[in-house]
Symmetry: C2
Amino acid sequence: MAVPRYLEVLWDRPSGTRRGPKPGVGIRDIGAAGVRVADRGGAETISMKAVATELGMTSMSLYRYVTNKDELLAVVLDEAYGPCPRDTVEGGTWRERVESWTRAIAAALTARPWIVDIPLSAPPATPNVLGWTDAGVAAFEGTGLPARSVLSSLLVLDGFVRNHVRQSTQLGALRADGSRAPDDRSYEKGILALVGDTGRLPALAAAAAEISHGEASDFYADELDYGIAVLLDGLTHRVESVRSDPSRETDRTGYASSNRL
Amino acid sequence: MAVPRYLEVLWDRPSGTRRGPKPGVGIRDIGAAGVRVADRGGAETISMKAVATELGMTSMSLYRYVTNKDELLAVVLDEAYGPCPRDTVEGGTWRERVESWTRAIAAALTARPWIVDIPLSAPPATPNVLGWTDAGVAAFEGTGLPARSVLSSLLVLDGFVRNHVRQSTQLGALRADGSRAPDDRSYEKGILALVGDTGRLPALAAAAAEISHGEASDFYADELDYGIAVLLDGLTHRVESVRSDPSRETDRTGYASSNRL
DNA sequence: ACACAACTGCGTACAGCGCAAGCAGTTTGT
DNA sequence: ACAAACTGCTTGCGCTGTACGCAGTTGTGT
């Protein structure tokens, strides 16, 4: 189970001298080409042919750089994320750092909403993606949380942001080019129209009714702010409990609920 | 923008009398067939041909029931979720209800991890999916949270669970058939091997090192417990602040952070 | 200098995909 | 009786990922 070649190249680890013609393109070029393709037509337009054509090659030439489409997607994904701006996790309290890290991820995903549609069968171990994780870990410095909890926290934050972006796109509040649309509440109204007269799902119908006759709002920003606030409050609670009882630092059973399913 | 026909049928809304031969299958049969296909080979094996063959039809016959693959996926998804067990949101405190709702979703997704791999371009307005949302809204009854916040909370919870299941599958801690594998920490060790000698990403390398020489643990359960605990703590904070200051009930600017990006 | 190995890029080929169009047979309303 | 509406099917098109093999280029070993 050696490290795949495209990863060696991405991490700039030269593997001795190479014979044969110089490669016509670098992997970063491939990633950038894929990003250009996806920026135009979304994640599902990333095909071997499309990326190859963008580079002026044929699709089969691409297989000299990646062994299959999954690797191509990983390369494109890494390029799409780009490097994490490290100043987002410098200075301030841990809570400020974590919040700004989370908002930086949200900004990156918002700029290219198709990122969350890329189907990957394994977490990519690429420089930029891991760079974001590294910055996230750094943001939690000084909290006293054990490493495992820090990574779990990053997963929670990242999961929320990813779902938020996906939902915003699906509801039309976020356009493919990253610009935002006003919330016309058509979704809530559609739910009302569909569910209202069936008599089923009374709780949801009531909620939809309550929402649809309020004043207009910015779905994207409101949702993001709410989620981040909830998550940070939860993390604060966690950090404070670890600080008041440092014996819990390596004991994660403290928060395990009794009714595991 | 009328309601698509497959939705009308899913919601049992008969549309007058129909001429011609009786349909050979019902949509629920189609959904069940799709679930059987995906149970065998994952979400990406759900094709028109595969589902049709499972039903003893040709692929083109399926188009008499759904207009495109997206609708087929929505039908399969609805069947895969199944109805929400309503007793999970009855009795107890709101926190207990919300926790058991979240764990019920986790159980449903864990039983069929391919659910999170289904690519949908719009949130499905199908009975079971909306039924889960309805139950989630009901779980929040009595919290005093405004409807919009309740839906936002459900999105946060659902987003976490989805990402948790995806991550568990990708790391090998959750198998395709829903059974769980022990955490061999191969991912952390892979990260260490790759990042360790590059010298970059020191925070992540330190975290991976700290994790990989601890005792073995159950990634799936630990991660799920941690996330749920963090989220519920955050929601509790939210509920308490609304209760102590009911004027915030319809004012969501209270938690908006100052540094929107 | 020369052979060989390694490498790049390309052309061809194949199975599978989503789906458009059209056709035969069945059921219903008029 | 007749037409409208419906089901299930066959055929076909353009697209996908990728296996295979070949020509040309470059470095290494003798």
